[in-house]
Amino acid sequence: MPTTLQDEAAIVGIGQTKYSKSSGVSELALACEAVSRAIDDAGLEPHEVDGLVTFTMDSSDEVEVARAVGIGDLTMFAKINYGGGAAVGLIHQAAMAIATGAARNVVVWRAMNGRSGQRMGQGVSGQIISSDLIHWSWYMAYGMLTPASWIALTTQRYMHEYGATCEHFGQIAIAQRRHAQQNPNAAGYGKPLSMDEYLASRWVAEPLRLYDCCQETDGGCALLVTSAERARDLRQPPALIRGVCQASFEGQEQMTSFYRRDMASLPEMELAADLVYRQSGLGPDDIDAACLYDAFTPEILMQLEAFGFCKQGEAKDFIQNGALEVGGRLPNNTHGGLLSEAYIHGVNNIAEGVRLVRGSSCNQPEDVEHVLVSSGVGVPTGALILGKMP
């Protein structure tokens, strides 16, 4: 019988630092604080952790974190590529390791001085002629140096084909900012947003305005993954991994999949949806809340379609009447998300998914059985469904 990842592992620990614009500490310190807190939250000891996973973009190596935190032997360690596309991939690695016995307790993390240190969108350049650098070179020469500029092209085409408008994007920004008013660790806490303010905000890359773009954040977030069996005996209500996958689709590029016939949809996210629904035996009707990756507001619309919550092009209608807020059809990013809580590359969205299953979100909807979480949009990505332990 082949091993599947359905119901094999659970997330039982969350650790996060303060999210700020200037941490004043090293990225290694942020990583260690987040990892240490995740271990504490689960009620485990550092020496019980035998697997560590982070992003290729993370500046702290697994062994540096292990040595600093007092984690002993490691039997699995990995780094996942593609920026925010990696977030769910970390959980995928951890679940595979646990299901196969390669590790028993795996901590995954992302920690970054994303505002005070190396910022996103400062252009890409380098000295070594790698295939990655050649890829970016087609855009650099023309001045397309930021994630906003790349996503803007996809967004413009999506608007052209389906009639979505900036007001629809504004509705998403405002809903998530409203969620952040209950989250003291959120960048948007105490700063509600109106449609007038949204529409008056400056252009970044048309059709994207300032408030369509996520935060730049200093901070770290870690999660502890263990077996479903062990999870039953630990301190926190487990968030069982009902399904988890990575997905990259034909013609995939990193942020610039402009060369497919149809660029107004997210085929890699449709593949992720198909995989995670089949693995879990669940479908969109079973999903009670979501943390869809939200580096940019239009990504939410396109993902609602990719995950089958509505038909292609109809997400602008789906989101009306508070559908993405508490009490609506699909409360989404109830912590504020990358847009209004922090940009910890999507790992903080997984943490909120865990809180929603635990029943401890700062905007907890009633009766949450299953939560869908996605990784980066426009990159090789992944999807995760968390659920209550039966």
Partner: protein, 136 residues
């Protein structure tokens, strides 16, 4: 020598240097073509995804294209570029899609589907790159 900053130059490796070299020699828009099956591919890559031949040549595109999508970049502003930048994603007549810049076009006149033609722009430092403008 002018000290004015100029645009970021593409790093040149075996898979892309020929393209920029052809542009510098005056080819308005080169497109890589598989020697095995004739399939066009842009941006250039070392192997054909249809027949897996690693032999290739190139053709000069007609320069005629239509606008598939666009963005207007305002922020952040990097040295060496003039803002706002009108970026065009174009469908070349030959069937390939390509990133470029839209010039000689008022922002309010930009329409997806509009007809464009390529020309080579030469920067103050002599660097050449293809850009597109509306067909009159």
């Amino acid at each position: 020598m002018s000290s004015k900053p100029s645009r970021i130059k593409p790093p040149l490796g075996p898979d892309n240097a020929w393209w920029w070299d052809q542009v510098s020699k005056g080819t308005v828009f080169p497109i890589q073509r598989c020697s095995g099956c004739g399939k066009l591919r842009h941006p250039p890559r070392p192997i054909c995804d249809a027949c897996r031949s690693m032999e290739w040549n190139w053709i000069a595109a007609s320069g005629r294209a239509t606008l598939h999508s666009y963005t207007v970049i305002h922020h952040p502003a990097f040295p060496g570029y003039e803002y706002p930048i009108l970026i065009a994603l174009v469908d070349l007549e030959e069937g390939e899609r390509a990133i470029s810049q839209l010039v000689d076009c008022d922002r309010d006149a930009v329409r997806i589907g509009m007809s464009l033609e390529a020309r080579i722009q030469t920067d103050a430092d002599g660097f050449k790159l293809p850009v597109f403008r509306p067909v009159a």
